[in-house]
């Protein structure tokens, strides 16, 4: 399986950006963006879809840290 060409990369990134814009405007409600999600998955290799999903999670977490600050997770055996 050959690596995506430049045109294929651009198409994938475009589909990803549209999907993410949809999520941003619908408060991360994936149900509202089904069509764009399917377009995104069809234009990008599966590995890239996974990679970009993880990236999105990371970017949201980073934004959360920047706006809300860091709060350590509640530990089970807290003193």
């Amino acid at each position: 399986m050959a690596a995506p060409t430049k045109a294929e990369r651009k198409a994938c990134w475009g589909a990803r950006d549209e999907f993410w814009q949809c999520l941003d405007s619908h408060g991360d409600d994936a149900a509202k963006c089904e069509k764009l999600r399917r377009a995104f998955e069809s234009r990008c290799p599966q590995q890239w879809v996974k990679h970009f999903d993880k990236r999105r999670d990371f970017l949201k977490y980073k934004k959360k840290l920047e706006t809300e600050g860091y709060s350590p997770p509640e530990a089970a055996g807290k003193a």
């Binding site: 290799p45 599966q46 590995q47």
Partner: protein, 258 residues
């Protein structure tokens, strides 16, 4: 004023005898200005003081500059001694020719480790690298610059795959690949982290790796590295600085390295 600064021979004993001191033992204020003597105006005295301070500052700056220059030169000599035999690689380019670091001596090398199935990072970094090389090529005085791409995915990235991939970037960007052992050795020579991820149903996978562009000088000495946060303009600027620093220390003769 100068008259009053001349040393006056001590004609009197330190302790005057009791009673009023003889006239010649009257304590004299040596620096007292006799009435009527001309004084330099205030602004002239400030100018003199300013000039002295300026000269002292200039002297200090010069000494500091010289010291820094010597430190840089010493550091470069040390790096050169370390470089011999280090940061080397045995790979093949896209034409199939064997390549090692020695083949690129005499040129500034910008070296990036990546793979063709990379989702976003490698294309972005290669765009940046290409743009930096273009910026630097505008300077006619610049010695030859060689951009290199070394794959961290030798299983899929053979010569043909690399050539296809690199066509989209700078025309002189040269791809290097090899056996898994050779690629592993090259990555470890540059302390580059490489870790192939799990394969999916199609056998596709991504390779996690350090994202760095390395700068190697014409003597094969590692000089700098640029990460994700550097723009193309910053890379070009830092390379120019390194090049200017390189001109300070003379090169080692290349006879023994051919």
């Amino acid at each position: 004023m100068l008259r009053s600064l001349r040393p006056i021979p001590q004609l009197c004993p330190r302790l005057c005898p009791p009673g009023p001191c003889p006239a010649r033992c009257q304590p004299r204020r040596r620096l007292a200005v006799p009435p009527g003597a001309p004084r330099l105006p205030l602004w002239q005295r400030l100018c003199v003081a300013g000039a002295v301070a300026g000269a002292a500052a200039a002297g200090w700056l010069y000494v500091r500059h010289e010291k820094e220059r010597q430190q840089r030169s010493r550091r470069l000599q040390q790096l050169r001694r370390l470089a011999l035999g280090q940061g080397d690689f045995q790979l093949r380019d896209t034409a199939g020719a064997a390549r090692s670091k020695a083949d690129f001596l005499g040129r500034w090398v910008l070296l990036y480790f990546g793979f063709t199935h990379c989702p976003d990072v490698c294309p972005e970094e290669l765009e940046k690298l290409s743009r930096a090389v273009e910026l630097l090529e505008r300077d006619p005085a610049l010695p030859p610059l060689q951009p290199l791409f070394v794959t961290v995915d030798p299983e899929r990235d053979d010569a043909a795959a690399l050539e296809r991939y690199l066509r989209d970037f700078h025309p002189r960007l040269l791809g290097l690949t090899g056996t898994p052992e050779q690629v592993r050795a090259a990555a470890s020579a540059f302390r580059v982290y490489v870790s192939a991820g799990p394969r999916d149903a199609d056998g596709d996978y991504v390779v996690d790796h350090s994202v760095l562009t390395f700068l190697v000088d014409p003597d094969g000495v590692f000089r700098d590295c640029y990460g994700r946060s550097r723009t193309a303009e910053e890379v070009a600027r830092r390379l120019s600085h390194s090049r200017n620093g390189h001109l300070i220390a003379p090169s080692v003769p290349r006879n023994g390295l051919g």
